[in-house]
Amino acid sequence: MQFVLDTLVELIPGLWVSIQMAAVAIAVGIPLGFGAGLALNSPSKALRWITITLVEIFRGFPALLTLYLVYFGLTNIVTLGRFTAVMIAFGVTTAAYTAEIFRASIASVPKGQIEAAQSVALSRGQITSRIILPHVLNIAVPPIIGIAIITFQGTALAYAIGARELLGTAYSIGMIQFRVLEPLLLAALLYLLVTSLMAWLEILAERRVARLTGTNGNRVRARRRNRVGRQLRRDDRALGLAEARITP
């Protein structure tokens, strides 16, 4: 028991590093992803294709490979610390994952609302900032949290470049104490805990979106279509975990 407690205390700094890594990756990834989402909705074909290519590359590469690419590849050009490498690699990966979410949310602003905004003489810029942006910020939050979960779990890959995040810390405690399993299981428990917390936030955010976007005609139809998905999530709620959705 004492060993468990001691190990937990020793794991906390590792957990903190993992959380920081996830936070900076998300902070880098979301604005990039939003920019990509705008580009994917742009009328310029060239811009759309360049963006699609970049997004497909970083969505199709395993995150570990992107991490190696940045950590070992960019070192030829600039010296990167592990933390910086993680920030760049997972920031770009997060951006690629969120781009599709932003693209879809921007495209999902009901056409009628844009027309209504035009009919009361709002300019294009005003429509983007006052109608489209709030809508996107609202509806994109739950799936973005879903991506944030993936990013957080992904920080465990930094173990592979020797970072002292949660998994790396657990592994080295195990090596020093000659008890490998317990520290790893405790680390797993901490991952489970943080993941569940984020999943719970995702559910709260989802409810908020449902409340905010209420009862438009096309919503009712969309809701009916989502019945299956909601059923799935309802079961997960028993355990406080929504499925981490991955957009193909």
């Binding site: 590359i57 570990l64 992107t66 070992f72 195990g174 790893l184 991952y191 975990l241």
Partner: protein
């Protein structure tokens, strides 16, 4: 420089892990989905608990635990096997959802209709329910299989000699890291992009309700 022959060898191991984990996850996901579709709250809880743990822990942590932490005989000794089991566990949670979503997508009226013409359970399942449910399952399962393929890269960390393992070692002995890792990435893209296209195609067809499976 990367050697094409080695890339092919690595690819072969990657594919073994991918398909192996697909099989393991299918075997695990079917009972999990069944548990979660029963009316018994205890069984549902067990199913949900499995899914929660399977995806609440990062795939790399699963692999490290299985390979370094546990003593599961040959599984904990052979990196490829440890990767197949670990990634199979993770994917079983997602695949379980695909299966449930597929079964849930068949309206109750279909089962009632089958019952009304006195089909037995077996025929109802195989001739009425599954032909409608399978396309729905496949659409999301295909999407999850992309994630699974990308996760096979993690197996390199426990020493499975797949694509990334090979590139990593080549870089250690002097190959250009940018070029090597990028080339390997393209090999992944050669799989993820087409599978993604298929998944999206299936998904739009399923939504439109135009996929019909012969039976």
């Amino acid at each position: 420089m990367l050697d094409p022959a080695y890339i092919l060898e690595g690819l072969w191991i990657t594919i073994q892990i991918w398909f192996g984990a697909l099989i393991v996850s299918t075997v695990l996901a079917i009972p999990v989905a069944m548990l979660r579709r029963t009316k018994n709250p205890g069984a549902r809880f067990l199913g949900a608990l499995w899914a929660w743990i399977a995806r609440g822990i990062p795939p790399i942590a699963w692999l490290i635990i299985i390979f370094f932490g546990l003593s599961l005989g040959i599984i904990s000794a052979v990196p490829v096997l440890a990767a197949i089991v670990g990634l199979g566990i993770v994917n079983s949670a997602y695949l379980g959802d695909s299966i449930r979503a597929g079964l849930d997508s068949v309206p109750d009226g279909q089962r009632e209709g089958a019952a009304s013409v006195a089909l037995n359970r077996w025929d109802t399942l195989f001739r009425v329910v599954l032909p409608q449910a399978v396309p729905v399952m496949l659409a999301s399962a295909a999407a999850y299989s992309i994630t699974l393929l990308k996760n096979t890269a993690i197996a390199s960390i426990i020493g499975a000699n797949e694509l990334v393992f090979y590139a990593y070692n080549a870089v250690q002995v002097g190959a250009d890291p940018l070029l090597s890792f990028f080339t390997i990435g393209l090999v992944y893209l050669a799989f993820t992009v087409p599978v993604g296209i298929i998944a999206r195609w299936l998904d739009t067809r399923v939504r439109r309700g135009t996929v019909k499976v012969a039976h």
